[in-house]
Symmetry: C2
Subunit: 101 residues, 2 copies
Protein backbone atom coordinates (compact mmCIF):
# COMPACT_ATOMS: atom_id res chain seq x y z
CA UNK A 1 0.00 0.00 0.00
CA UNK A 2 1.40 3.38 -0.96
CA UNK A 3 2.03 6.13 1.56
CA UNK A 4 2.49 9.80 0.75
CA UNK A 5 5.47 11.91 1.73
CA UNK A 6 4.84 15.05 3.84
CA UNK A 7 3.37 17.99 1.94
CA UNK A 8 1.69 21.29 2.85
CA UNK A 9 -2.08 21.34 3.24
CA UNK A 10 -3.91 23.24 0.49
CA UNK A 11 -4.43 26.35 2.63
CA UNK A 12 -0.71 26.42 3.57
CA UNK A 13 0.48 26.62 -0.05
CA UNK A 14 2.20 30.01 -0.51
CA UNK A 15 2.55 31.91 -3.78
CA UNK A 16 6.23 32.89 -3.27
CA UNK A 17 7.24 29.29 -2.55
CA UNK A 18 5.26 28.05 -5.54
CA UNK A 19 6.88 30.64 -7.82
CA UNK A 20 10.35 29.72 -6.53
CA UNK A 21 9.61 26.07 -7.27
CA UNK A 22 8.31 26.89 -10.75
CA UNK A 23 11.26 29.17 -11.61
CA UNK A 24 13.53 26.43 -12.92
CA UNK A 25 13.62 25.05 -16.48
CA UNK A 26 13.90 21.38 -15.44
CA UNK A 27 11.09 21.62 -12.90
CA UNK A 28 8.88 23.36 -15.49
CA UNK A 29 9.63 20.60 -17.98
CA UNK A 30 8.80 17.70 -15.65
CA UNK A 31 5.65 19.51 -14.48
CA UNK A 32 4.57 19.90 -18.11
CA UNK A 33 5.01 16.16 -18.54
CA UNK A 34 3.04 15.47 -15.32
CA UNK A 35 0.29 17.84 -16.43
CA UNK A 36 -0.48 15.53 -19.37
CA UNK A 37 -1.29 12.61 -17.02
CA UNK A 38 -4.36 11.92 -14.93
CA UNK A 39 -2.62 9.18 -12.91
CA UNK A 40 0.51 9.32 -10.71
CA UNK A 41 3.64 8.86 -12.77
CA UNK A 42 6.92 7.18 -11.85
CA UNK A 43 9.63 9.42 -10.38
CA UNK A 44 12.34 7.51 -12.27
CA UNK A 45 14.75 9.53 -14.34
CA UNK A 46 14.25 7.40 -17.47
CA UNK A 47 10.60 8.53 -17.62
CA UNK A 48 11.56 12.16 -18.26
CA UNK A 49 13.23 13.90 -21.14
CA UNK A 50 15.77 15.86 -19.08
CA UNK A 51 19.57 15.81 -19.07
CA UNK A 52 20.30 15.59 -15.33
CA UNK A 53 21.35 12.96 -12.77
CA UNK A 54 18.93 10.87 -10.70
CA UNK A 55 20.07 12.74 -7.56
CA UNK A 56 19.25 16.09 -9.15
CA UNK A 57 15.82 14.87 -10.22
CA UNK A 58 15.18 13.66 -6.65
CA UNK A 59 16.05 17.14 -5.42
CA UNK A 60 13.58 18.68 -7.89
CA UNK A 61 10.81 16.29 -6.74
CA UNK A 62 11.41 17.39 -3.16
CA UNK A 63 11.27 21.10 -4.03
CA UNK A 64 8.00 20.58 -5.94
CA UNK A 65 6.46 18.51 -3.13
CA UNK A 66 7.48 20.91 -0.36
CA UNK A 67 6.07 23.84 -2.33
CA UNK A 68 2.72 22.05 -2.60
CA UNK A 69 2.83 21.50 -6.36
CA UNK A 70 3.01 17.69 -6.29
CA UNK A 71 2.19 14.65 -4.17
CA UNK A 72 4.81 11.88 -3.91
CA UNK A 73 3.62 8.31 -3.28
CA UNK A 74 6.04 5.68 -1.93
CA UNK A 75 5.63 1.90 -2.10
CA UNK A 76 8.69 -0.10 -1.18
CA UNK A 77 11.49 1.22 -3.35
CA UNK A 78 9.20 2.75 -5.95
CA UNK A 79 7.95 6.33 -6.03
CA UNK A 80 5.26 8.05 -8.06
CA UNK A 81 4.44 11.70 -8.36
CA UNK A 82 1.23 13.53 -9.21
CA UNK A 83 0.46 17.19 -9.91
CA UNK A 84 -1.83 18.76 -7.24
CA UNK A 85 -3.92 20.34 -9.96
CA UNK A 86 -7.07 20.98 -7.89
CA UNK A 87 -5.17 22.37 -4.91
CA UNK A 88 -3.17 24.82 -7.02
CA UNK A 89 -6.20 25.84 -9.04
CA UNK A 90 -8.12 26.49 -5.80
CA UNK A 91 -5.30 28.60 -4.33
CA UNK A 92 -4.11 30.44 -7.48
CA UNK A 93 -6.72 30.15 -10.24
CA UNK A 94 -5.21 30.14 -13.71
CA UNK A 95 -1.59 29.88 -12.57
CA UNK A 96 -0.85 26.38 -13.86
CA UNK A 97 -2.50 27.05 -17.21
CA UNK A 98 -0.48 30.26 -17.60
CA UNK A 99 2.85 28.68 -16.66
CA UNK A 100 2.58 25.22 -18.21
CA UNK A 101 1.00 26.31 -21.52
Amino acid sequence: MARTLPQPAREAIEIVTVLQALADPVRLEVLRQLAKESEPRSCSLEEYDVDITAATLSHHWRVLREAGLTTTFVEGRRRWVELRREDIQARFPGLLDAVLA
Copy 2:
Protein backbone atom coordinates in the same frame (compact mmCIF):
# COMPACT_ATOMS: atom_id res chain seq x y z
CA MET B 1 11.95 64.25 -22.05
CA ALA B 2 12.01 60.81 -20.50
CA ARG B 3 14.10 57.96 -21.85
CA THR B 4 13.61 54.27 -21.07
CA LEU B 5 16.23 51.96 -19.63
CA PRO B 6 17.13 48.80 -21.62
CA GLN B 7 14.55 46.02 -21.48
CA PRO B 8 13.85 42.81 -23.42
CA ALA B 9 11.54 42.99 -26.41
CA ARG B 10 8.18 41.29 -25.90
CA GLU B 11 9.18 38.17 -27.84
CA ALA B 12 12.40 37.84 -25.79
CA ILE B 13 10.58 37.65 -22.44
CA GLU B 14 11.20 34.17 -20.98
CA ILE B 15 8.94 32.33 -18.54
CA VAL B 16 11.75 31.11 -16.25
CA THR B 17 13.22 34.61 -15.90
CA VAL B 18 9.77 36.06 -15.25
CA LEU B 19 9.04 33.44 -12.59
CA GLN B 20 12.41 34.08 -10.93
CA ALA B 21 11.61 37.81 -10.85
CA LEU B 22 8.14 37.17 -9.41
CA ALA B 23 9.38 34.72 -6.77
CA ASP B 24 10.17 37.36 -4.13
CA PRO B 25 7.74 38.81 -1.59
CA VAL B 26 8.92 42.43 -1.97
CA ARG B 27 8.80 42.29 -5.79
CA LEU B 28 5.32 40.77 -5.65
CA GLU B 29 4.20 43.54 -3.31
CA VAL B 30 5.51 46.42 -5.44
CA LEU B 31 4.09 44.78 -8.59
CA ARG B 32 0.68 44.58 -6.88
CA GLN B 33 0.91 48.29 -6.16
CA LEU B 34 1.96 49.00 -9.78
CA ALA B 35 -0.89 46.87 -11.09
CA LYS B 36 -3.39 49.30 -9.56
CA GLU B 37 -2.06 52.18 -11.68
CA SER B 38 -2.58 53.00 -15.31
CA GLU B 39 0.24 55.60 -15.37
CA PRO B 40 3.96 55.19 -14.61
CA ARG B 41 4.63 55.49 -10.90
CA SER B 42 7.65 56.94 -9.11
CA CYS B 43 10.44 54.48 -8.23
CA SER B 44 11.05 56.26 -4.90
CA LEU B 45 11.07 54.15 -1.78
CA GLU B 46 8.59 56.40 0.06
CA GLU B 47 5.90 55.52 -2.49
CA TYR B 48 5.86 51.85 -1.48
CA ASP B 49 4.79 50.09 1.67
CA VAL B 50 7.91 47.91 2.03
CA ASP B 51 10.52 47.71 4.79
CA ILE B 52 13.75 47.77 2.77
CA THR B 53 16.51 50.25 1.83
CA ALA B 54 16.49 52.43 -1.28
CA ALA B 55 19.42 50.41 -2.67
CA THR B 56 17.50 47.16 -2.27
CA LEU B 57 14.45 48.65 -3.97
CA SER B 58 16.67 49.80 -6.87
CA HIS B 59 17.94 46.24 -7.19
CA HIS B 60 14.37 44.94 -7.33
CA TRP B 61 13.45 47.47 -10.05
CA ARG B 62 16.40 46.24 -12.10
CA VAL B 63 15.43 42.57 -11.72
CA LEU B 64 11.84 43.34 -12.77
CA ARG B 65 12.95 45.43 -15.76
CA GLU B 66 15.52 42.90 -16.99
CA ALA B 67 12.94 40.12 -16.74
CA GLY B 68 10.57 42.13 -18.92
CA LEU B 69 7.94 42.77 -16.26
CA THR B 70 8.36 46.56 -16.07
CA THR B 71 9.53 49.58 -18.04
CA THR B 72 11.68 52.17 -16.24
CA PHE B 73 11.56 55.80 -17.42
CA VAL B 74 14.36 58.24 -16.54
CA GLU B 75 14.19 62.03 -16.59
CA GLY B 76 17.10 63.82 -14.95
CA ARG B 77 17.35 62.38 -11.46
CA ARG B 78 13.79 61.05 -11.39
CA ARG B 79 12.64 57.57 -12.35
CA TRP B 80 9.22 56.08 -12.94
CA VAL B 81 8.20 52.51 -13.43
CA GLU B 82 5.28 50.90 -15.22
CA LEU B 83 4.00 47.33 -15.43
CA ARG B 84 4.27 45.82 -18.96
CA ARG B 85 0.77 44.46 -18.65
CA GLU B 86 0.08 43.97 -22.39
CA ASP B 87 3.46 42.39 -23.09
CA ILE B 88 3.13 39.88 -20.25
CA GLN B 89 -0.48 39.10 -21.10
CA ALA B 90 0.54 38.50 -24.74
CA ARG B 91 3.39 36.17 -23.78
CA PHE B 92 1.80 34.34 -20.81
CA PRO B 93 -1.97 34.86 -20.81
CA GLY B 94 -3.48 34.87 -17.33
CA LEU B 95 -0.15 34.87 -15.46
CA LEU B 96 -0.36 38.35 -13.93
CA ASP B 97 -3.97 37.87 -12.84
CA ALA B 98 -3.08 34.55 -11.20
CA VAL B 99 -0.02 35.88 -9.40
CA LEU B 100 -1.10 39.40 -8.41
CA ALA B 101 -4.65 38.51 -7.30
